[in-house]
């Protein structure tokens, strides 16, 4: 050993690496360093092990060891017949499985549900795998084409018209309401002290209404003519296609540069035509299955997927509104967001289910499932708005300035530069919202929609399967399904987060 205290020291031969005197890696290292390295830790380890022992062992015993695997009714799951204390009663799940998945969806039509599910998976998987190309196209298919196809597949029914008829109908509705308002004011004027003023206002509104009526008259006339012909859908479709395509062409830059818009418009319409033809939407489509027959996992998935697809745009619009400099829009967005975030979802569902119809015109009914969907979408939309706002705030100011300096308008800047980056930032938060949305769908069972949990509860009251372990078995089954979906999503969000972070680092 050289004397280090002397001021000069030079190491002649380097010390070689050698293994540590005690093992600190591998299983033994783990046991030594993280389980039994101090008296307190030993105690904690023992306590933990006991805890696990008393939870895992009974669970496994219930789910597997003591379970009954086959049978036709409750008797096979009773201790008297089985001869031992029965755990899970799996034949009950087997018997109720169709109900838990499809609800009362007619047996002969269930292939439609399966097909929709397959379509969803086929479209969703490539969207989730970051390596695959053509994300934009794929997302377009999933977010726009798929919901329509799924609607006609699941619900059935066909089209009575197309774009033109719809536009005409919508405008007419609007006009009717204006005329209605005018008449209301007129009738008020008879009893009011400011009668003459109201009379003038009422007549003015009526005048506007009548003007609009004549303005849109060609459109409504055309619609009525179309509806008269046998081929209303196709004629309407053709007219709509031509009009929309032309508009796209000229807005896209006309002869100079509009070819891209032209081509994509034509492609979109051809795709729509193929779908209409394939599903026979022009002559009634598939037999209608009313939504009150839907149930089980089907409803859970429909509600959550619709919620996911619709809440994001709502959230984006609200988030942009909240950052707008236009006072009314900002105030409205803030009030809207804070309102939905401040009330429990269940009251929102009550509101949508029982009060929405009171606010709609008398002859206008909205399907029960759709009402719940509206409530859930608005509710989740408000939460998504806050997520998106976080993302927007994280974009440096320079990005917007650079885009402005290049001459991009506010809309283009927002949609091409700001939003893509903002959304990328907040994917984990968005996915977390989706997870809570998926879990929250179970609340629709309180407003008499039979989702997975609702169907499960309904199946509990079947005396044919009433045994002491029925409820536990049902909960175990539904719990596993919920867990698989939610856990899958949360893992996926972690994966995306890691990828994003890795991307940001270099």
């Amino acid at each position: 050993m050289s004397d280090i205290t002397s001021s000069a020291f030079i190491r002649e031969d380097l010390v070689a690496e050698r293994p540590a005197p005690v093992k600190t890696t591998g299983f033994i290292g783990l046991v030594r360093t993280r389980l039994f390295n101090s008296p307190t830790n030993i105690l904690l380890t023992i306590a933990g092990a006991l805890l696990l022992w008393f939870t895992i062992v009974p669970s496994v015993k219930f789910l597997v060891v003591d379970a009954v695997w086959s049978g036709n009714d409750r008797t096979s799951c009773l201790a008297e017949t089985a001869g031992f204390a029965v755990g899970a009663c799996w034949p009950y799940i087997q018997a109720k499985l169709p109900q838990l998945i499809y609800g009362f969806y007619p047996e002969a039509e269930r292939w439609r549900v399966n097909l929709t599910l397959v379509l969803a998976v086929v479209l969703l998987l490539p969207l989730l795998i970051p390596r695959l190309p053509a994300k934009g196209f794929n997302a377009g298919l999933f977010f726009f084409a798929f919901p329509m196809v799924a609607f006609f597949l699941l619900h059935g029914g066909g089209l009575g018209g197309f774009g033109l008829s719809w536009t005409a109908g919508l405008l007419q509705l609007f006009d009717d309401s204006i005329i209605g308002a005018g008449q209301a004011v007129l009738s008020l004027s008879k009893s009011s002290s400011i009668g003459p003023l109201l009379w003038v206002v009422g007549n003015l509104i009526l005048l506007v209404g009548t003007a609009i009526y004549w303005l849109i008259y060609p459109l409504t006339w055309l619609r009525d003519q179309l509806q008269g012909t046998g081929q209303s859908v196709w004629t309407d479709f053709a007219i709509t296609a031509v009009v929309v395509t032309l508009i796209a062409f000229f807005l896209g830059g006309g002869v100079r540069a509009g070819w891209r818009a032209l081509a994509s418009s034509i492609a979109a319409f051809v795709a729509v035509a193929i779908i209409i033809k394939l599903m026979g939407l022009d002559h009634g489509g598939l037999p209608i299955v009313q939504t009150n027959l839907w149930g089980g996992l089907l409803v859970t998935l429909v509600v959550s997927v619709t919620g996911i697809v619709t809440s994001l745009p709502i959230g984006i619009v609200l988030a942009l509104g909240r950052r707008s400099t236009i006072p009314l829009i900002r105030i409205f967005s803030i009030a809207f967001i804070e309102f939905w975030r401040g009330v429990p979802l269940i009251t929102v569902l009550f509101f949508a289910t029982y009060m929405l119809p009171l606010f709609l015109p008398g002859n206008f009914t909205v399907d029960g499932l759709v009402r719940a969907l509206i409530g859930i979408s608005l509710f989740t939309g408000a939460y998504q708005a806050e997520n998106v706002r976080g993302g927007l705030a994280a974009i440096p100011r320079g990005q917007g300035e650079a885009a402005a300096a290049l001459g991009l308008s506010w809309w283009k800047m927002t949609s091409l530069i700001v939003l893509p980056q903002a959304l990328r930032h907040v994917i984990p938060n968005l996915v977390n919202s989706f997870i809570s949305l998926f879990k929250d769908t179970s609340l629709v069972s309180i407003v008499a929609l039979f989702d997975l949990l609702g169907s499960l509860r309904a199946s509990f009251s079947d005396p044919k399967w009433s045994t002491p372990s029925t409820a536990f078995t049902g909960f175990a089954f539904a719990g596993i399904i919920y867990f698989i979906f939610c856990f899958g999503m949360s893992r996926y969000s972690l994966f995306v987060e890691h990828r994003l972070n890795a991307h940001r680092r270099n």
Partner: protein, 401 residues
């Protein structure tokens, strides 16, 4: 030739335009008008439709119904209530039931949440895995699912009152809930209360004194033995002197149910249990993130100054972690309060259940009742966010950001 700084021109017109229309000026005003028109139109449609619909159906409008007799009973009331009380009273009963289950839920959720967070942060591998398992399982199952599970599955597994499980012969668990002895004040009650209050005040004073002693004279005083004495031994002593402060009315099986004692209904237990375990999983993650957000250098800096581990935690790490923890924690408290409305699924008489549920179907006045219910929740969350933003503002000020 340098120009002096001047005041900016007034540009009043521009400023007005800004206020009215935002950055885009006239365009903004136009957009606003269009937007206001659409909003107005929608509002008009809603009001006029609701009016015609209500008129057609002869539904009475207004809040007059609140003074009518409710005519039904509620099985858990914190204030006295009978079937002949008014709907307003029902509203209060429901609100109080919501608040009590929320408060209990919050207390337990916080406790469990901190414990689970500590487990997850524990150097013990097994314990941190168990914590993780808990969080992952609980977070990924719907709350309603868990409420129903605790209520239906577990309730079904409990015996009826005649065979109830007795703990020490004074607590009884059955499918009617948990029956505990109810305290009845005795002669020593006042003395006991007085001494307890004294103990608490003295402990606080002691803490204050200890701080001062440390800061002014450099005396570090260990106060916990004294506090223990004040809060535990002293009341015990008074009990010996003045006799027991209260006796317990023991529950006894009589007829169908237990007579005497206080009963906690299973709906409450299931709801509070589900709410607190569910929220605890989220709180655990928040606490963990908060503690991890305190840079490890802070702990090291404390250690290198010679501060003990406990002192470093108490004076350095926890205050910093709390800043990160408190805002999302409040959010969770709010969520828990809102989630307590799921009581309606298991028949616990909370606000939504007895007011937006039973009262609504007895009176049919959906608009008023739903509006009142939503309003209450909205009020709670608005007040909370107001308090939170004040808190946030104070923090950012004290950090000098």
């Amino acid at each position: 030739m340098s120009t002096e700084a001047r005041k900016p021109p007034a540009q009043i017109a521009l400023k007005i335009r800004r206020v009215l229309g935002g950055k885009t000026g006239w365009n903004g005003i136009a957009v606003q008008f269009a937007f206001a028109a659409i909003l107005g139109w929608i509002a008009y449609e809603i009001v006029s439709n609701a009016r015609t619909n209500l008129e057609n159906q002869h539904i009475a409008a207004g809040f007059g119904f609140l003074r009518n007799n409710a005519g039904f009973d509620v099985n858990q009331t914190l204030i006295s209530y009978t079937g002949s009380d008014t709907f307003l009273r029902v509203f209060m009963v429901g609100l109080l039931n919501t608040l009590i289950v929320s408060v209990v839920g919050i207390v337990f959720a916080t406790t469990i949440g901190f414990i689970v967070a500590l487990c997850r942060l524990s150097p013990n591998w097994l314990l941190s895995r168990i914590g993780e398992l808990y969080v992952e399982i609980i977070r990924n199952l719907p709350l309603l699912f868990q409420i129903l599970f605790w209520y239906l599955a577990v309730l079904a597994a409990l015996p009826n009152p005649r065979q109830s499980i007795s703990l020490l012969g004074i607590f009884f668990v059955s499918n009617r809930g948990l029956v505990v002895p109810s305290p009845i004040a005795e002669s020593g009650f006042e003395a006991f209360l007085a001494v307890l209050a004294l103990g608490i005040v003295a402990s606080l004073a002691l803490r204050f004194y200890a701080r001062r002693a440390l800061f002014q004279r450099g005396h570090l005083i260990r106060i916990w033995p004294y506090v223990l004495g004040l809060l535990f031994w002293l009341p015990l002593l008074t009990m010996l002197v003045f006799g027991p402060p209260f006796s317990f009315e023991l529950p006894q099986l009589k007829g169908f149910n237990f007579a005497g004692g206080s009963r906690i209904i299973p709906e409450f237990v299931a709801l509070a249990l589900a709410l607190s375990t569910y929220t605890a999983a989220f709180i655990a993650e928040i606490v963990r993130a908060g503690i991890l957000s305190v840079h490890s250098g802070q702990m090291e800096a404390g250690a290198s100054l010679g501060l003990s581990r406990g002192t470093t935690l108490r004076l350095i790490v926890v205050p910093q972690a709390m800043r990160v923890i408190v805002p999302p924690l409040t959010n969770q408290y709010l969520n828990l309060t809102k989630n307590s409305s799921l009581a309606v699924a298991i028949g616990y008489p909370d606000l939504v259940s007895v007011f937006a549920g039973t009262s609504l179907s007895q009176t049919g006045q959906a608009i008023e009742i739903i509006a009142m219910t939503m309003g209450v929740y909205l009020l709670i969350s608005l007040i909370t966010s107001a308090v939170m933003s004040i808190y946030g503002w104070r923090i950012s000020r004290s950090l000098g950001a």
